[in-house]
């Protein structure tokens, strides 16, 4: 018997959630809603006495001060429309799970059934059914994962309401192991791949076919009672392990690259020849790299006793389908990656970079896509819940806007962790797995959610993208698990762990099994969310909040006992062996038997072709306006430049108590920081510095310079804030549109050439800057293809820089500090408006893309580092989107101080127009302010570099800059400029 408890706010109490919906309905939809109230519904799928229900309602679910409740009978009254939104069966219901646990605690007994949560929205005002329908589907519920019901007041039954809905999963299905017939023609092989969502191409399918044709393999299989054909467990396991997501096939491909000259050269793996090669070169010169490209995250030395680990992930494909769930699983997923590095790290900072289309999108939204504002809000909220609830400060990030992200938003989530360099007397970065160790699954249970995540993200978004690939994260189950694992780590209970992410158990156990030389998984062992899952589903499910730990049999008892005490589920699901084989059993029978060598090394290398051609964009012809104030103000309001305070304020950037440079600093706590500085150890004055660079617009001209600029931007943000150049690493995250030539992608060779060029730049500039890549990820199929409409993202590379500052008090912030301080521009301004925000505002791309002079830049950075460490700078801000003009305005209004400047003094080469002087996006430049008493020392420290003093900070509250002809090019009230900068996303 099911029962419902309804909880609503008392009359006169603000219903903040209702008001938030009301605002959106009015502002975004323009519908005539007058008020929105909410009622929370708890549905109990178990037997409870009326007394028990009353007790739970009054003592647990309703707050006695502000809420009222009703058992059985709906609370809803006095509305014109009512909408109820709840989860579909099988979707993670975190509040439902907590409700059950809390109710059991209160009643002192097990409930014997689940609790489900849903929410009712009560609308007043003259909306039509169509309008309510539209709000419910486009704002309140995501039909992929949620159910919704609508009623008007007239048809509402006040006694039974919407009735009793119990979204319980019932799989009327006997689990079975299938066989996949590979004794077929090529066409059928491809059909099998696409119908089963394996995302394997013909060469890969044929490699599998060949393996299973091998007489030796057949003989071995026959002995185990396995068919000659692969079982569905085996084929799914191979598909997950061989997915683009897991094996980075494009980055490991053999590429024939024609640079446009007609002469082709062969590149054997971009990863090896560009990324890893850069790391290897720098590794010869530095002694602080600990573990790179071998684990879930890159590890480097922080000080004698501690190492830092960092990883940045993308979660684009799921975020397109369900922005909230996709982003939430993105952040908690990368958390597990870092947590699961070496013997386990404690997480100390998160980063987030998003790429969206214009949230004020007015045109029609193509099928299967969400409106960009919904994507924005969902992703923001997902990262908010993931970061805040896990107690990890979100310290650095940005949002990039371009309408080509309509088809695929990009959601980059990063995490920094810290680990003692030794754990239980052993090197903490080394995992040890011995034959006989148990493979223990810790955390959540296994369900159908997240099946085919790895293969799905290796494809474009299309009509048949699976809804099972969408998952909702459960931050609190993860928090419990992570607390427990850190405790168990320090009690020496395990020697290796890894994340259960893409590919589920097949990947986590499969990868760890490489350390021992084999494994045997019992697919009937993992606890399930509900019965009826097939063995292959259990193996590849990506249900969240799980990690796999290698525990020696003698330690398992105490490991399990501690887990029990911490309310964390843990189960031995198999053991590691040295048999050389990946083996799965189900019901005592062998259902998968794949040699480890074939599983991890059998995927054939892709052979691809790339051809670069220079493309010319129309060159803009515009008059150079004398008064650039209007342009500056308009640029400050642009999405890519404007304040992101709306988002930042909803992320906890203080938790753990180590924040030193926060995302927003300055006189009014609203100036945009270039990088974040946090102290991961409260006993030490050393800080971690994190920054990033991203500039996809330059890809429209040349992806080589796009990548060069991203590397430069990351480092100049880092050095501007005080990060040490002798200990800085970087992470590369490539998000590309499909670069493999095919019918769907006729320009694949060009897109691959863009990828080649970006990698070459990554190599050139990370080597020049001694900033070795330590970890990276690629997401190669960011296209949307439905009904003949194709939207591809611009090639986008995120570079995250991470390093150290010896003393956090040496950090420098962007805000001008005092009237009388001198204003300097460091670096050369060139006429490089190609791909700039200024050109974009005027409707152009142009061709003069910013280029990076690594030698000059590095020399400047070295000098700046020295000046910062000597405390000579009052402020420092890098010049990026919107150029010098935007950097000067931000410096001034962050400090709420005016400036009197003369642009004729700016060091320049060829920038002989006011607009190019102000808005050119030439790289490797800064605006710095210096107190007069430090000026001489500062100038001496900068000697040999291009820099100039261009004016002075003053108390006038005006930003005034003389243009090239001596008349004012900028004359603006800084409060007005700040207002323009804050207006756009001032939701």
């Amino acid at each position: 018997m099911a029962e419902r408890i309804y909880v609503g706010f008392r009359e006169g109490v603000t219903d903040a959630a209702g008001n938030a919906v009301l605002r959106r309905v009015k502002d975004d939809f323009g519908f005539p809603a007058a008020s929105v109230r909410t009622v929370d519904v708890y549905t109990f799928d178990c037997a409870l006495s009326p007394q028990e229900l009353e007790r739970l309602a009054g003592g647990l679910f309703a707050d006695p001060v502000v809420q009222v409740f009703s058992v059985g009978k709906p609370l809803a009254a006095g509305f014109d429309w009512i909408v109820e939104v709840g989860f579909k069966p099988g979707v993670t219901d975190n509040a439902g799970k907590t409700s059950r646990e809390a109710a059991e605690e209160m009643l002192g007994r097990k409930l014997g059934g689940d609790v489900y949560t849903s929410r009712q929205y009560l609308f007043r005002g003259g909306m039509t059914r169509g309008q309510v329908e539209s709000v419910s589907s486009r704002l309140l519920a995501n039909d992929l994962i949620e159910r919704r019901m609508i009623s008007d007041a007239a048809s509402w039954n006040p006694e039974s309401g919407f009735g009793l809905i119990v979204p319980k999963v019932v799989l009327a299905h006997e689990p079975e192991v299938g066989e996949v017939d590979l004794k077929v023609r090529n066409k059928t092989l491809l059909k099998i791949s696409s119908e089963r969502l394996l995302a394997l191409d013909l060469r890969e399918m044929k490699a599998i076919q060949k393996h299973f044709r091998d007489p030796v393999v057949r003989e071995g299989r026959a002995k185990l009672g396995l068919p000659a054909n692969p079982t569905d467990v085996e084929i799914e396991c191979l598909a997950q392990t061989w997915s683009e997501h897991c094996k980075h096939k494009i980055f490991n491909a053999a590429i024939r690259y024609d640079d446009g000259s007609g002469k082709a050269r062969r590149i054997n793996s971009l990863f090896r020849s560009c990324i890893r090669k850069s790391t290897e070169r720098t590794a010869k010169k530095v002694d602080w790299l600990v573990s790179v490209f071998v684990d879930n995250a890159g590890v480097f030395r922080f000080n004698d006793s501690w190492n830092l680990a960092m990883k940045v992930e993308t979660h684009n494909a799921p975020s397109a389908l369900d922005p909230y769930g996709g982003a939430l699983t993105g952040i908690v997923g990368v958390n597990r990656d870092v947590m699961g590095t070496g013997r386990g790290a404690r997480l100390v900072a998160n980063t987030d970079v998003f790429c969206f289309a214009d949230p004020a999108w007015k045109k029609e939204v193509p099928p299967r896509l969400h409106h960009p504002k919904r994507v924005f809000e969902g992703v923001r909220r997902g990262v908010e819940h993931g970061g805040n609830k896990l107690g990890i400060p979100t310290v650095n990030g940005s949002i990039v806007f371009d309408d080509r992200y309509l088809g695929r938003p990009l959601v980059y989530c990063g995490t920094v962790g810290i680990m003692p360099s030794a754990v239980c007397g052993a090197d903490s970065s080394e995992k040890t797995v011995k034959p006989g160790d148990l493979a223990v699954m810790v955390g959540g249970r296994v369900g159908r959610d997240g099946i085919h995540g790895a293969t799905f993200s290796s494809q474009e978004l299309n009509e048949v993208s699976p809804v099972t690939a969408v998952q909702l994260g459960d931050p609190i189950t993860q928090k419990r698990m992570m607390d427990f694992l850190l405790e168990a780590r320090d009690l020496c209970m395990f020697k290796a762990l890894t994340d259960n992410g893409a590919g589920g158990l097949s990947s986590s156990v499969g990868e760890m099994a490489q350390l021992s030389g084999g494994c045997e998984i019992m697919l009937d062992a993992p606890p399930l969310k509900y019965a009826g899952l097939n063995p292959w589903e259990i193996l590849v499910s990506e249900s969240q909040e799980r990690m796999t730990v290698a525990v020696s049999p003698e330690k398992f008892g105490e490991f399990k006992a501690l887990a029990d005490r911490r309310g964390v589920e843990c189960t031995a699901v198999g053991k590691f062996t040295d048999s050389g084989d990946f083996v799965c059993t189900y019901g005592g029978k062998t259902v998968a038997f794949i040699p480890m060598k074939f599983l991890h090394g059998g995927v054939p290398q892709m052979k691809l072709s790339a051809r670069w051609e220079e493309r010319r964009n129309p060159e803009p012809e515009m008059p150079d306006e004398q008064d650039q104030t209007q342009n500056l103000s308009a640029l400050l309001s642009r999405l890519n430049v404007c304040s992101k305070e709306y988002v930042v304020r909803q992320y906890d950037h203080e938790v753990q108590g180590g924040s030193a440079v926060k995302p927003l600093m300055g006189a009014q706590n609203d100036g945009p920081s270039d990088a974040a500085v946090v102290r991961p150890l409260l006993e030490s004055g050393e800080g971690v510095v994190v920054s990033h660079g991203i500039c996809p617009r330059y890809s429209d001209i040349d992806a080589y310079w796009m990548a060069a600029c991203a590397v430069d931007e990351a480092l100049r943000n880092y050095v501007a804030t005080g990060g040490s150049l002798s200990r800085v690493a970087c992470l590369d995250n490539f998000c590309w549109c499909d670069p493999v030539k095919s019918e769907k992608t006729p320009d694949g060779e060009f897109k691959l050439a863009q990828l080649v060029r970006a990698n070459k730049a990554l190599y050139d500039f990370t080597v020049a800057y001694r900033m070795p890549p330590i970890s990276g990820k690629d997401s190669m199929k960011n296209d949307y293809v439905v009904g003949g409409v194709k939207i591809s993202i611009p090639p986008t590379l995120l570079i995250s820089a991470v390093g150290k500052i010896g003393d956090v008090y040496k950090a420098v912030t962007v805000d001008a500090k005092k009237a009388g301080d001198l204003v300097y521009v460091l670096g050369v301004t060139r006429s490089e408006l190609g791909g700039s925000e200024y050109y974009a505002m005027k409707g152009f791309v142009g061709n003069s893309v910013p280029k990076v002079d690594a030698k000059a830049a590095y020399k400047l950075y070295r000098a700046l580092e020295k000046a910062v460490s000597r405390g000579l700078l009052a402020s420092c801000h890098d010049c990026s989107d919107g150029g010098l003009g935007v950097a000067l305005a931000e410096t001034a209004f962050s400090g709420m101080l005016g400036m009197q400047l003369d642009l004729r003094l700016v060091p320049r080469e060829g920038a002989e127009r006011n607009d190019s002087l102000l808005f050119s996006e030439s790289q490797s430049r800064f605006v710095a302010t210096v107190s007069p008493e430090n000026a001489q020392k500062f100038e001496k420290a900068m000697k040999g570099n291009q820099f100039a003093r261009i004016g002075e900070v003053n108390g006038s509250m005006r930003l005034v800059a003389k243009g090239l002809n001596g008349a004012n090019a900028i004359d603006a009230d800084i409060a007005e400029l700040k207002k323009a900068w804050k207006r756009t996303l001032g939701w």
């Binding site: 209160m106 107690g391 609190i476 440079v661 102290r679």
Partner: protein, 266 residues
Amino acid sequence: MENVRAIVFTGFGVNCDYETARGFELAGAHADRVHIEDLISKKYSLDDYQVLALPGGFSYGDDIASGKVYANKLKYHLSGELEKFVSDGKLVIGICNGYQMLVKAGLLPGLDGDYGSQKATLTFNDSGRFESRWVKLKANPACKCVFTKGIDAIDLPVRHGEGKFIPISEEVRVRLHSENLIAFRYCDGAGNVAGEYPLNPNGSIDSIAGICDPTGRVFGMMPHPEAHLFRHNNPHWAREKCSDPGGEGAGLKVFRNAVEHAKERL
């Protein structure tokens, strides 16, 4: 007592336990981070401590209502121990989520020695959003609160979605004022109590940011003193570093007060 021992609760989503423990250590106490289940199962005993802290965090993910489920856990498993702790003259602080727990378990405001019934709540911010921002608090000099002694005004961050303080009745509201149980109120830069957003970041009634019980030894507040243990936590540190380089953050005083009180009186 020379060697003051502080117990910092953890578990089920509490997440400010490290820095809260650090605050007590910097103030000269020994601090243990202890999972609540280890108290329930008696692996640890409150008898060994003089100061108890319920730190901030997201216990149970704020599901149902912030702090509620953890508060019930305290109520059903540890209420006797907690009441004894208070009646022994010891100190209790709840910060953010911990404050929500104390209020929802009825340990605050503890009027007339009743530590079991809920007399107020902390509910959703008027903005409908999680608010991560720095606020200024004005201390009530007439309040007996041990933790706020000697503080006039203090800058601290708030980081919460449910921080709006509402007393259960007009009577309770009046008594909080008349009995001087309001320790901190949100104020403007000049130290005047401020009601408007964002100075009062959540819409709390009478801008109440923290309250104590009539003994002054049980205290709860929404803003985070443990997030201002160091000068560099203050977002203005870089603007003022010439005049005040490095050093202690204003929030440490809250921990010092507790440890000093315990040293002298316990």
